[in-house]
């Protein structure tokens, strides 16, 4: 092998431009593909963020009043009783929001009452009775709210925290506020100067929008405040097999109970998740397809230039073959040549990949490109180069010595 390096360098020096073009193309492909694959990975991991809810068993129903309702709290209690009695509905609750929903309610939670103190931004879930059984969230410490601890949101006085007997937080917030200790029984200040006791901790409770978790952290709280239907949504727990039938049944029941309201089309939480991430899915596909086409174009470019080289050097190959070089040696010559060019291109491509990643970090709040992507990208492009050069190299190796000399 070492014997071949000399002639390769000599030949490449005579074809600086063509060799340079291959190096450049490999470098660009390597830089782009490394970053694109990294971006795809980012999108896919974002899409897998758990919400903590039993997503495939949950249906969201929204009801709007056509005329301002005189007593929305009473109507909400009636609706919930009606929904719980429907066949196929295991449990129902009212909430101000659900993950992947349209609007989000967030606020600061602090462990000190002083004004101007640093607080943790959290998703504020305001939920009524049976929220725990309905949502499928898992309580890992403390207890659920007692029936007498719930309040109507409408009836809340100007003194925001007065009368709220307790709060349930997710594990992310518990660990942030009280690292290494149990949060149950501790007091926090959710957006006011009155302390509220932490009653329980749920294992996982997601932010409404995935972006919120990325920029404000994963904290979330549950307050025992019942919104009425005009400011909240109904959440139904159903068995996945019956889901579609129950959705229609629930819509019809709510339409019939009060004609002066508009019932929006029910939607499953699975569907809401899918809608939320549709743009990410689209972007991941786009990036993937472009990468694939990019690699094919690069491979075809290598095939084209290598074929040209083989034809141009057919006299040299014939001479070498006549002087006793084996087919294998000719084959390896072209493979080694491609390996050297690819390696140089990849080395330059890594530097460029890092540069592109820096630009993305500045403009898109992306994390640093993990080093593991670099060797994977390098191996992929080396393999691609070897595959592309195989055809032309075999054609070169197949050239018979005599015929070449005759021409």
């Amino acid at each position: 092998m070492s014997l071949q390096l000399g002639p390769i360098f000599k030949t490449l020096r005579r074809h600086k431009i063509a060799a340079g073009l291959i190096v450049l193309e490999v470098a660009l492909s390597c830089a782009i593909v490394c970053n694109a694959v990294f971006l795809i990975g980012q999108r896919l991991t974002g899409m897998e963020q758990p919400s903590g809810f039993a997503e495939d068993e949950l249906v969201v129903l929204q009801v709007n009043a056509i005329r301002k309702d005189a007593n929305p709290d009473a109507a909400t209690r009636r609706d919930l009783a009606l929904l719980r009695a429907l066949p196929g509905v295991q449990q129902a609750a009212v909430s101000n929001q659900v993950p992947f929903g349209g609007s989000s309610n967030n606020g600061g939670v602090s462990d000190s009452p002083e004004p101007g103190r640093p607080d943790t931004n959290a998703a504020w879930y305001l939920m009524g009775e049976h929220w725990l059984q309905t949502s499928g969230l898992r309580l890992i410490a403390g207890r659920d709210f007692l029936p007498e601890e719930y309040r109507d949101l409408h009836a809340l006085s100007a003194d925001r925290n007065g009368g709220i007997p307790g709060i349930i937080v997710n594990r992310a917030l518990a660990e942030k506020l009280f690292p290494g200790a149990s949060a149950v029984g501790k007091e926090v200040y959710p957006g006011g100067d009155k302390p509220v006791k932490i009653l329980g901790v749920v294992e996982q409770l997601g932010r409404i929008r995935p972006g919120d978790a990325q920029f404000n952290g994963p904290a979330a709280v549950v307050l025992p405040l019942r919104p009425a239907y005009d400011t909240g949504i109904y959440l139904l727990r159903v068995s996945p097999a019956e889901r579609d039938a129950v959705m229609q049944r629930a819509k019809l029941a709510l339409q019939q109970v009060d004609r002066h309201r508009m019932v929006e089309a029910p939607v499953s939480l699975t569907e809401l998740r899918s809608r939320q991430y549709s743009q990410d899915r689209y972007m991941a596909w786009t990036l993937g397809i472009v990468c694939l086409v990019l690699l094919v174009v690069t491979a075809l470019g290598i095939v084209g230039l290598a074929s040209f080289w083989v034809r141009q050097r057919s006299r040299m190959i014939g001479t070498r073959r006549a002087l006793g070089a084996t087919r294998g040696q000719i084959l390896r010559y072209f493979q080694l040549e491609n390996f050297l060019l690819s390696a140089l291109g990849i080395a330059l491509g890594m530097v460029a990949a890092y540069g592109i990643n820096l630009a993305l970090m500045l403009n898109y709040q992306l994390p640093r490109l993990p080093l593991a992507y670099l060797p994977v990208g390098a191996l992929a492009l080396l393999a691609l180069g070897q595959l592309a050069v195989l055809g032309p190299a075999r054609r070169a190796a197949a050239l018979p010595p005599v015929q070449v000399l005759h021409s």
């Binding site: 193309e25 492909s29 929006e264």
Partner: protein
């Protein structure tokens, strides 16, 4: 001479169909991807109101509390209701409008029609003249109607079709959240992209179907939507009340020249100072006055993904171009013996150079046409994507011309190096080796 070079180019293509096809394909793919993403970018970053957007300014005041105060920090993007109503009453700009978005349930004249929900804009009389809304029938309501909390609406062309089956519907009534209102105007086709006057209720989606006086909306407590920020220690029972520390109103003014802008800025500073000495504002005056282009740039309204796709496609085009340079070079050198013959028969270096550039341009033209087809297909794909801007992605005449120009320029750039190399071929040497 050009025709002869073209003929030579065609002969050379016929001699190397695979290589030629490869070049055209690579160039076409690169051009197609670039023009698809460039068209989307071009559509999304276009001036939403040409000739008007430079004169429209969004007003920001700093009404926040001292609790989280950082001097010079960006003030809230929206105003409190009290500030907006006061500025509107003082009317220091030639035109001004306060507004908020909402979603209401509508019922048409026909009882059998299902109620439907529609996006609505609650605003004041100048809105229509400021943003240049075109009327098909009737016109806007007046400032007197604002003061009278009139039950009047302006509806979009689409809503007019749905509720009244088209035609002049002025004077007809519809029910908004069960309150009867009279149609005073029907818009002609109008879509604002991006929806810059309130980016929190959609950016590139559909524009509202219904417009009614802000004063009326508060009278009837109609539901609102969009962004809202409140501060202070107390729980706010009604954040939509007149004097509470909540910002949720967008406020726009129309101003003439730079001097008028400066006068209005001075007025806003003086207003803030007045509010501060009255004890309402806690912070020193901190106002912002951005016109539409500045506002769009500040809010970075073109989606990050669109820019990312543009960069990706340009990178892809660069790879395709490198590829084309390489293949053109290979083809030129493969044809070296013929070049030698032509040189020996008296063709100058310049002639050889020109001949190869024409060949590159021919490939560029073919690649450009293929790219155009691919861009058309690509945009078809974009229109099926889930984003709100999807249906806006249409190829227009300037982009069509740009596509061909870019591909010709790109092929010219790609052809320079190979043509130069071809021109270096010495006549005698090549003849000897034959």
């Amino acid at each position: 001479m050009f025709a002869y070079y073209l003929d030579l180019a065609l002969r050379s293509f016929r001699a190397n169909p695979l290589l030629t096809g490869l070049m055209v394909l690579a160039l076409g793919l690169g051009i197609g991807a670039s023009m698809t993403t460039l068209t989307v970018y071009h559509v999304l970053s276009a001036d939403p109101l040409p000739g008007r957007s430079e004169r429209l300014y969004q007003v920001q005041l700093d009404a926040g509390s001292l609790a989280y105060y950082r001097p010079g920090a960006e003030p809230e993007e929206q105003l409190t209701r009290l500030d907006a109503q006061t500025l509107l009453a003082e009317a220091q700009a030639p035109r001004q409008a306060m507004m908020s978005g909402g979603q209401v349930i509508l019922q048409g004249p026909d009882d059998k029609q299902e109620p439907r929900s529609s996006d609505v804009r609650y605003t004041s009389a100048d809105f229509f003249a400021m943003f240049g809304l075109p009327f098909q029938y009737g016109g806007p309501w007046s400032a007197a109607d604002d003061a009278a909390h009139a039950r009047q609406v302006v509806i979009s062309r689409e809503l007019n079709e749905v509720l009244f089956g088209g035609g002049d519907s002025t004077g007809k009534t519809l029910r908004v959240q069960d309150t009867e209102m009279r149609v005073v105007g029907v818009l002609a086709a109008w879509r604002l992209t991006p929806h810059f006057y309130d980016l929190n209720t959609g950016d590139y989606g559909k524009t509202e179907g219904l417009y009614l006086p802000f004063s009326t909306s508060r009278d009837l407590e109609l539901p609102r939507s969009g962004s809202m920020n409140c501060w202070g220690k107390d729980h706010i029972v009604d954040p939509l009340a007149l004097d509470v520390p909540c910002v949720w109103i967008q406020y726009w003014v129309e101003l003439g020249d730079a001097a008028a802008v400066q006068r209005y800025r001075d007025y806003l500073n003086a207003y803030s100072e007045r509010q501060r000495s009255a004890g309402r504002f806690e912070r020193p005056p901190n106002v912002r006055l951005r016109n539409v282009p500045e506002w769009l740039a500040f809010r970075q309204v073109v989606p990050g993904d669109v820019k990312l796709q543009l960069w990706l496609a340009l990178g892809f085009l660069l790879v395709c171009l490198t590829n084309t340079v390489g293949l053109l070079l290979a083809k030129c050198l493969r044809g070296a013996p013929q070049i030698g013959v032509r040189r020996a028969l008296g063709a100058s270096r310049k002639a050889i150079f020109a001949q190869h550039l024409v060949e590159a341009l021919a490939i560029g033209l073919a690649g450009g046409l293929l790219g155009l087809l691919l861009a058309w297909l690509g945009l078809l794909g974009v229109r099926h994507n889930p984003a709100s801007y999807a249906e806006l992605a249409q190829l227009d005449l300037p982009m069509l011309a740009a596509t061909l120009a870019v591909s010709l320029l790109a092929s010219l750039a790609a052809g320079l190096l190979p043509a130069w190399r071809a021109a270096q071929v010495a006549p005698a040497l090549q003849l000897k080796s034959q």
